[in-house]
Symmetry: C2
Subunit: 208 residues, 2 copies
């Protein structure tokens, strides 16, 4: 008689998703191994197919969950309560720190971009997630422009991408940059400096 665990479908699926996140982040879509995900989840390969269908569908589930997490955090920043300048400062610092503390997210996105976002393109959940932040940012910029503290030609989507770029690139390319500059970009000191530089760039740019 074989030993079979007590059933717990939801927990099993969640554990698989978490193990898959780690594995995909470490090795990318192609490099990730279904066997390893199953082992790490203390589960069975067959269950991955049972719950998620295929390696590709599993990867999409991982991506969707990763996006939902960052959007959720962003939604809780309460930027509305702050002055335009403080709101931008808070958003900029949050963004850098989120990437820093969730480098799995960066690696998942890099892997997906290498695949031309073929999984995300199929997702209908993703589309709706992004809009809230973008319109919030738009409102902040309008306020700031009216108050005369921001330059007039700034667009929300441009700024959003730029804020992301400044931290994301630094972290996602830290390894090649380190090889090229022979400098450890992830030391506490380097990170603090980068964070300050990013704030300076965004606020410096926004000056009227």
């Amino acid at each position: 008689m074989k030993l079979i665990k007590k059933r717990n479908p939801e927990k099993t699926a969640k554990t698989i998703l978490a193990a898959a996140t780690t594995e995909f982040a470490k090795f990318g879509f192609g490099g990730a191994r279904i066997d390893i995900i199953a082992d790490r989840a203390q589960s069975n390969k067959r269950l991955i197919y049972h719950y998620f269908g295929s390696k590709e569908d599993l990867f999409l589930a991982v991506l969707e969950y990763a996006y939902s997490k960052i959007r959720h955090h962003e939604a809780n920043l309460n930027l509305e309560k702050l002055s335009p300048k403080d709101a931008i400062k808070k958003l900029v610092n949050f963004t850098f720190n989120y990437y820093l503390n969730n480098q799995d997210f960066i690696r998942l996105l890099n892997s997906e971009n290498l695949l031309n976002a073929k999984h995300l393109k199929q997702s209908n959940k993703i589309l709706k997630m992004q809009m809230p932040l973008l319109s919030k940012l738009d409102a902040i910029l309008i306020d700031g422009i009216k108050a005369g503290v921001f330059r007039h030609d700034v667009k929300a989507i441009d700024l959003h991408i730029t804020i992301a770029a400044l931290g994301y690139f630094y972290l996602s390319n830290a390894n090649t940059l380190a090889a090229v500059f022979k400098k450890n970009l992830k030391s506490k000191n380097s990170l603090k400096q980068r964070s300050q530089h990013i704030e300076d760039v965004i606020l410096g740019y926004l000056r009227p």
Copy 2:
């Protein structure tokens, strides 16, 4: 009697390197197929091992060659002849356009970063390549600060990374951003706007 091509070792190696660049850029290190590289180079799998040793060594050769190309272009910009502001403008626009016209380079770097730069870290050629541009940029900044057209707290390495980040991230993540924003970021118009925005950000930031 089998037909065997006339010998041409140098051309063979070069052709393999070019085919490998395309293949690695398209599919990343893990996704690239030695068979396909051999076919595309109208060559033979065995020759890849003959000339390059292994898939990993081939990838490193591809990376080193890709870096040497961009550094070579940068070296020919003749920034010294321009005013500090014009020099920065030229560098910023060159950088974006180079990435735009050489997206293989971006994809190679993304793939290498997903592998924690394990190949580049072994390279001794790479180290020496980067320094010329960085010291040139440093000279430009010092001039600009003296002339009172640049802010006093700007550091060459920070600015260099930031200039790279603004274009690189936009292009490397264009596919996921497009999925999320439902917008084609690679249309002629979007690219022109982005290019202008990047210039605005850098020059806006640099104001004293």
